[in-house]
């Protein structure tokens, strides 16, 4: 495998983003199109749009709803997934139903959830939960089901108590799959955070973008989209940091398997 070296890779990392921004900047520099304002103008508006009160009034509430919804979904997904993954009969019983529910796009639930959860925070958190729970749940089921037979036998022979078995065998063993599910859920969560605020809301990033669009504040609308992109990047960086710490054993294991052939 060609490895240009760590230093060079770190240098190359921002190359594509810089290129894309530069292209955007240059192609829109002389733009007179009302819907495609010059990037320069968008960036000039960014600070005043978001850091004069909107950060605490809109961004933080959005993030709070996302965080609550996401954490509830992960807890629910891992909890139910562990149970379903552990019992073959239960799995056979619920798996077709799970596939059905997963196939329903969460955004269509918004109008329904509005009917009985209102248009407040509860509804938005519920929408996020209802979309995020599936990848976590299904991946956890898969991870628990695929636990190594020999490892299970070892745990039985050494008479691991149910609690230690859950912590040291089941959850740790399924953690690579759980992390994969949680990663998918995070991007779904961001999408649903925005969508839930587009229907009925009084604050939030999604709400603000729609407001700008309706009032033809086009540069401001673009800053909102950039803000969403930045939120996504920051969250994914945080996720990766946590993941690489928790799964360092898994990365090492896979690398050792590859080198041993």
């Amino acid at each position: 495998m060609r490895d240009p070296g760590r230093g060079l890779r770190i240098l190359l990392l921002p190359a594509l983003p810089v290129l894309l921004v530069a292209t955007w900047w240059l192609t829109t520099a002389d733009s007179t199109n009302f819907f495609w304002p010059p990037l320069e103008q968008i960036l000039r508006t960014f600070g005043e749009t978001w850091f004069t009160g909107r950060f605490t009034a809109d961004v933080l509430p959005s993030l709070a709803r996302l965080l609550v919804g996401y954490l509830v979904a992960v807890a629910l997904g891992v909890g139910l997934g562990t149970e379903i993954g552990s019992w073959r009969t239960l799995r056979a019983l619920v798996e077709p139903v799970l596939e059905f529910f997963r196939a329903i796009p969460a955004p269509v639930l918004v109008p329904i959830l509005m009917l009985f959860a209102g248009i407040g925070n509860e509804m938005k958190v519920l929408v996020i939960v209802s979309g995020c729970v599936w990848p976590v749940l299904l991946n956890t089921v898969e991870g628990v089901r695929a636990l190594d037979e020999v490892l299970r036998d070892t745990a039985r022979c050494y008479r691991l108590r149910p609690r230690s078995r859950l912590v040291h065998l089941v959850l740790r063993g399924a953690s690579p799959q759980i992390a994969a599910g949680a990663r998918q859920a995070l991007s779904i969560g961001i999408i649903l955070m925005v969508i839930s605020e587009m229907f009925a809301a009084s604050n939030g990033v999604g709400f603000t973008i729609i407001q700008f669009q309706r009032s033809f504040a086009i540069p401001q609308m673009w800053t909102g989209i950039i803000m969403l992109g930045l939120i996504g990047v920051v969250l994914s960086v945080i996720f990766r940091a946590v993941e690489s710490r928790a799964l360092s054993w898994y990365t090492g294991l896979r690398m050792s398997q590859r080198t041993k052939g």
Binding site: V150, L151, D153, Y158, L169, G173, Y250, G252, L253
Partner: protein
């Protein structure tokens, strides 16, 4: 000397063990009738042709598998699940160690489950790792070690557990020949030092004669005991001198002959 104390009852009793796997309309009789017993402190090898139900037998003894008929009695108690005071070393060393734990944590976990106090736990873990020659890799993860070293960790974990009986299921089938010889000597050393009862399952005839005080030869499936061979070699064994003894060659030839008969489908009379 490691003779059985006079009057001691068997530690492990396998009586009329039978195991039939039934899947749908088809059922396979893996083990027909196995009866043997092991005295406290004995090192007994079980050898048989491949497909002789060795693993089935070991899983029944370990309480990982329910027998169809007959019983396994350990320490006077009928085995219905993995019993207290038993440790197992599996063939698949790479899959029996927890990859997310360090070597030390792997060895320590069963002791924590047994509620061994912390200081004692520390002592046992260190002793066990020292005994298998791994005193300096406490904080490594199993996958950072070679196959032979991983199996040493599994053995250290079993030893630290201070079991009454140690079951080993073809533990060295997947390591190279040199490592294998080292590990065989390690098992003999640990057995003599600790006085633990060992049931060692293998398909390797030389290994069974070299290690055991007694070799139980199994027939092919559906399995019965073909013959029990007492190994009257000196207790001090080493790879070079023991294996070149005329008596070793005789025993080896005898067991070899038995295995050949087993493969042909010979069964004991009656």
């Amino acid at each position: 000397m490691t003779t059985t104390p006079i009057g001691a009852t068997a530690l492990l009793d396998v009586r009329d063990l039978r195991k039939v796997y039934s899947g749908g309309s088809r059922s396979v009789e893996a083990v027909r009738n196995l009866t043997f017993s092991i005295a406290p402190g004995e090192l007994v090898c079980i050898v048989g042709p491949s497909g002789a139900g060795k693993t089935t037998l070991l899983r029944c003894v370990a309480g990982l598998l329910n027998s169809t008929a007959g019983e396994v009695v350990l320490d006077g108690e009928k085995v219905t699940g993995p019993p207290r005071g038993m440790a197992v070393v599996f063939q698949e060393y790479g899959r029996s160690l927890f990859p997310w734990m360090t070597v030390r944590q792997n060895v320590e976990l069963p002791l924590k489950e047994k509620k061994v106090p912390k200081a004692e736990r520390r002592r046992l873990v260190e002793q066990a790792l020292e005994a298998v020659g791994l005193a300096d890799v406490h904080n490594a993860h199993p996958w950072q070690l070679s196959g032979g070293m991983q199996q040493r960790v599994a053995i250290a974990r079993a030893v630290a557990y201070e079991p009454h009986i140690l079951l080993m299921d073809e533990p060295f089938a997947a390591v190279d020949a040199q490592t294998r010889a080292d590990l065989e000597d390690l098992v003999r050393t640990l057995w003599r030092r600790l006085g633990v009862t060992v049931l060692f399952v293998t398909h390797d005839i030389d290994e069974s004669v070299y290690l055991g005080q007694r070799v139980i030869v199994l027939s092919n499936s559906p399995t019965v005991v073909l013959e029990e061979v007492a190994v009257d070699l000196p207790d001090d064994r080493d790879q070079l001198t023991t294996r070149s003894l005329p008596r070793f060659a005789e025993l080896r030839a005898h067991v070899y002959e038995l295995i050949q008969r087993a493969k042909r489908g010979d069964r004991p009379a009656g």
